[in-house]
């Protein structure tokens, strides 16, 4: 799993640098998210702009990060989701579970 991690506006921004999240790399994503949750209490923003494809295990990895963030009174936000990927959140109703923003600036604005 290739990604970039930056601290921006008091948020941990994780930019996924993969076109595809599936059972081959979702475990690595889950591990990374759980580590971020452990490390601090800044909001975690996951940028999904480059992701063209996600499967159920990828959704599961994001959900696991989200749940763990809630346990630690933190939060995990998703931004820049491509429409076909967003459809997968809709079919599983996970769009009602996650905080989803169109752009990272909208996500920043919502934190202040």
């Amino acid at each position: 799993m290739n990604f970039k991690l930056e601290k921006l506006n008091d948020c941990q921004v994780l930019t996924i640098q993969e076109e595809r999240i599936d059972a081959h790399n979702s475990a690595a994503l889950k591990t990374e998210l759980l580590q971020l949750v452990e490390q601090g209490d800044e909001p975690i923003i996951v940028q999904l702009e480059q992701v063209r494809f996600i499967d159920s295990s990828g959704l599961g990895a994001l959900l696991s990060g989200h749940k763990q963030a809630l346990v630690k009174s933190g939060k995990l936000l998703l931004v820049n989701i491509q429409q076909p990927v967003l459809s997968m959140f809709e079919i599983t109703r996970l769009n009602r579970v996650f905080e989803i923003y169109g752009t990272i600036n909208e996500a920043f604005a919502a934190q202040s």
């Binding site: 081959h24 159920s56 459809s87 997968m88 079919i91 599983t92 109703r93």
Partner: protein
């Protein structure tokens, strides 16, 4: 013109790194289905997803340590129907007993078969002495 028939038969090792190959083949096939009137981009994603989920299940849940460590996937297209078969040599399971996800209490697992059932027209799982097969049909 006779009805176009495409058949793709793939054998891969039981390793998740090959999911991309299987999914991509599905995506390309969707672009060649000329009879399809619906959204072709959506069909491409759906075939990619369904092949990925079904193959991942065969790798995760039906890994037979003794037999050869391979998964076989067959894709067959006739004019009005696309059939996917994913074979496994595991202990099998009861497809009918698999519950729908609880949307009010979402869980990390258990969304794969839900995607397959939601996006395709028919799904069956048959256990046989020489192996099991998940058969998925999509009408075109």
């Amino acid at each position: 013109m006779s009805p176009a028939i495409i058949q793709v038969d793939v054998i891969i090792p039981t390793q998740t790194r090959y999911l991309d190959l299987i999914g991509s083949i599905g995506e390309h096939i969707a672009k060649e289905v000329d009879s399809y009137a619906g959204d072709r981009e959506a069909l491409a994603y759906h075939l990619n997803l369904v092949l990925t989920e079904a193959t991942a299940n065969a790798i995760k849940h039906a890994h037979d340590k003794e037999a050869k460590d391979t998964v076989r996937i067959c894709i067959h297209i006739e004019e009005k129907q696309l059939t996917i078969k994913v074979y496994d040599h595991g202990q099998g399971f009861d497809l009918e007993a698999v519950a729908k996800p609880d949307f009010d209490h979402p869980k990390e697992n258990g969304m794969g078969l839900f995607f397959i059932k939601t996006l395709m027209d028919s799904v069956t799982y048959t256990q046989q002495a020489d192996g099991n097969v998940l058969e998925i049909i999509k009408y075109l």
